[in-house]
Symmetry: C2
Subunit: 206 residues, 2 copies
Amino acid sequence: MKLYTYPGAPHPRRVHIYLAEKGIEIPFEQIDIMQRENKSPAFIGEVNAMGAVPALELDDGSHIAESIAICRYLEALYPEPSMFGSAPEEIGAVEMWLRRIELYLMMPVGMVWAHGSPLTKAVVKEQIPSVAELNRQMVNKYFEFLDRRLAQSEYLAGPNYSMADITALCTMDFAANLNGLPHDKGQVHLSRWYDAVSGRPSAKEQ
Amino acid sequence: MKLYTYPGAPHPRRVHIYLAEKGIEIPFEQIDIMQRENKSPAFIGEVNAMGAVPALELDDGSHIAESIAICRYLEALYPEPSMFGSAPEEIGAVEMWLRRIELYLMMPVGMVWAHGSPLTKAVVKEQIPSVAELNRQMVNKYFEFLDRRLAQSEYLAGPNYSMADITALCTMDFAANLNGLPHDKGQVHLSRWYDAVSGRPSAKEQ
């Protein structure tokens, strides 16, 4: 196996934290997304038609793209420790929270990035400032919701750390560091959770 | 168990087709999203904080929201026939294609719906026609991509029908029927696949 990746970017980082939590080592090749290497005809033709990292090359030469698809493939090979839940209720809860984070946090952060960042100005056809502003408000509102959730639950999906936590952490660091959208330290439950998950060796090293 | 749903809308329909394919029967309660019953304080407070259907009520009174989370919970209870893949490679491929459909087809169709439909005008803060037009082009371009994919593969994720096919079908019917975005019948591979999946009893009944 080989992982095409760009360590530090939020989607590849999800996979790297997952690998560290599971203790799985996979050789990787860096694809410089700042130089748009992921948009080269060779990469699109042979690795991922969507022109994005991460992508995993299997030993038979086929590829799996999309962060969570890569993790689910690895989870099927190496089930323990579980990052997607074990009992049916937990499997459902992890998927629910993973998708809530993606839909209601990652998606608006991505819109702020696309419509509000000077770094994406050159590649986005038309930046619409009101779209960035609207999504900025949505992100802040969702932090309040997460704070209420984490008043009731140790981790997002319940008592166990999961892929939903990994995804939320990567999204929040991207929001804070590159989009000027940190959570409010006064959100004590969200802050308690954030300190715990970002303090894990898997997160600190990636 | 009880399913809160609005049969016919694209996300609930994914779950109904899944249930029909698996032969699972669950009592359901219709939540009239046209009357915004899903936004009532009672529904948001007790069933799904995100104010959306479908949502599944478990026998202990807890709830699982998000279409795919509901299906994954049921898949853990009733593994056969598999809709998310069995071998690791297939599990990875189903998740990759499911997410490709969601990100590159469902997402732009949703933007056309939000920014271009008279039916959403009253609930969207500001409709931006250029956003609808840009996403309309993306949908048509992705139909071309899917046509090329289905020239090589019987179903989206490989030789077996899966949750990726169910999701693509529901998205395409929503695109064609409510957003004026049918696929081109000249896309013979996509059309072959579309006729096959929409001709299954599970799809015709839902």
